[in-house]
């Protein structure tokens, strides 16, 4: 029987800054590997799709690694973080690039009227009642955000936040989950969210 604390894989998107996600998972007592190997990815129990940088660069990296179709076909729980969440949508206007198309909607610049961009810092979220990703996380908990583009609130949105206007803070469709904030840098609330995902 597979040990539930193994088989966790961070998809190597070629972006810098994968290690903070790795360390956060390790702090919870789990083993985790970083891989772009197809066999490793398809046999994983849980996958993380991180991302820092631009949508264009991240999609190019996934294409170079021939991972686009593979990621779309995954049936295990996948958690996209920040840009990784945005890649789950259909299209990003950051570089006008087609993204994975797993979740309906497009990634658009946040409204700059009366708000400073990037949206950088700790903001509160409102999560759907009883969603397992937000189990044991108090209402109005703060999470750490860093982004200038966002997904409009839609039918797959499971948590919202507001910066100038409401946007999707977290999303879920089937086995795909995404968070716009950085749980690995969101103190106790973020740690709980990663734990919830790993325990699903």
């Amino acid at each position: 029987m597979a040990n539930a604390k193994t088989g966790i894989v961070i998809i190597d998107t070629g972006c810098a800054n994968l290690s903070s996600v790795k360390f956060a998972i390790e702090r919870l007592g789990y083993q985790v590997s970083v891989s772009k190997d197809k066999n490793v990815l398809t046999s994983a129990t849980k996958l993380f799709l991180p991302g820092v940088g631009t949508a264009q660069e991240a999609m190019q990296n996934l294409a170079d690694r021939e991972l686009i179709e593979l990621v779309k076909s995954l049936t295990q729980p996948v958690l996209g973080i920040c840009l990784g969440m945005q890649l789950l949508a259909e299209f990003s206007s950051e570089g006008n690039v087609a993204t994975l198309g797993i979740i309906p909607g497009t990634i658009d610049p946040m409204s700059a009227e009366n708000v400073r961009l990037p949206h950088m810092g700790w903001n509160t979220i409102t999560a759907n009642d009883g969603h397992p990703l937000f189990k044991d996380i108090p209402d109005n908990s703060y999470f750490y955000f860093v982004h200038s583009y966002a997904l409009t609130v839609g039918s797959d949105t499971i948590a919202t936040s507001v910066h100038g206007q409401p946007f999707t803070a977290a999303v879920n469709r089937d086995n795909f989950y995404g968070v716009q904030f950085h749980p690995e840098r969101s103190s106790a609330a973020g740690q709980q969210l990663i734990k919830n995902f790993l325990e699903m």
Binding site: A16, N17, L18, S19, S20, F23, A24, E26, R27, V52, G53, T54, A112, R116, L117, P118, H119, M120, G121, W122, N123, T124, Y142, Y144, V146, H147, S148, V162, H163, H182, E184, R185, S186, S187, A188, G190, Q191
Partner: protein, 258 residues
């Protein structure tokens, strides 16, 4: 609502945390990792590590401690000091830093800001500005190489022109350090910061002068900065971060309390 950030700054020299008065006479404060951990537990919103010797000594910050910090810290942190190229920045980010802060190298080659923000995204790129108010000329001026007394010098830039320039080039955040106030704990320069705020459309972080809790309240209310950075008041435990945040919340400042 987006919370105002409290940001302890750890000046790093030879792998240890130090603090000087007005950038001079550095005294040893302690080891990096335990201090970073303590601040995270007390409720710091973010940490900044400045390797103050790096730019002056022409070397990149020692990287091993960046990983050690990233392993234990669950809040964002930024590393500054001697980052002169895309390769330097990539290394620091790979080791687990969330942001890199560029100061003197951006003044030496402003196109570095464009290249870094294109490669890593504007959200990773912080520009640190050391500003000094020249009483004779009644002008705010940008200084460079402030880590080394013998090399510290004025640049051709006025502070406000440089703030505009770095935003055009892709700065994702600006830390404005007011040298006249640094280490003397008489309060932030809210006059200068208010002027900077008017032309700064990216997050603006105040630095230099924090001495008492009401200084934080003033700088958030009067200058509307996004974060306030301080060093000695936290190192010396003159101000406890948790108490500071409770106080600011009582003053109706939007703040994340733990």
């Amino acid at each position: 609502m987006l919370a105002k950030r409290i940001i302890p700054c750890l000046d790093v020299k030879d792998g240890k945390v130090v603090k000087g008065v007005q950038f001079r006479n550095h005294e040893l404060i302690g080891d990096i990792v335990p201090l970073a951990q303590r601040y995270a537990e007390e409720g710091a919103d973010e940490l900044v590590f400045y390797d103050i010797t790096a730019s002056a000594d022409d070397r990149v910050v020692d990287k091993s401690w960046v990983t050690r910090v990233s392993e234990v810290i669950d809040i964002p942190f930024c590393v500054a000091g001697g980052i002169k190229s895309e390769e330097d920045a990539a290394r620091i980010l790979e080791f687990g830093a969330d942001k890199v802060s560029i100061n003197s190298p951006a003044l030496a080659d402003p196109s570095l800001i464009n290249r870094l923000s294109a490669k890593f995204g504007v959200q990773c790129i912080v520009i640190g500005i050391d500003s000094y108010f020249d009483e004779d000329e009644q002008e705010y001026k940008v200084y460079q190489f402030t880590g080394d007394e013998t090399r510290t010098q004025a640049t051709k830039w006025t502070t406000f022109e440089w703030i505009k320039e770095v935003q055009k080039r892709g700065a994702g955040e600006i830390v404005l350090n007011v040298m006249n106030q640094d280490g003397v704990r008489c309060g932030y320069d809210t006059v200068q910061l208010s002027k900077a705020r008017k032309i700064c459309h990216v997050p603006l972080i105040a630095s230099g002068g924090a001495g008492e809790m009401h200084h934080f309240n003033s700088v958030f209310k009067e200058a509307d900065v996004d974060g306030a950075l301080a060093a000695s008041v936290f190192h010396k435990q003159i101000i406890n971060i948790q108490e500071l945040k409770n106080y600011l919340k009582d003053q109706d400042v939007e703040i994340r309390t733990c």
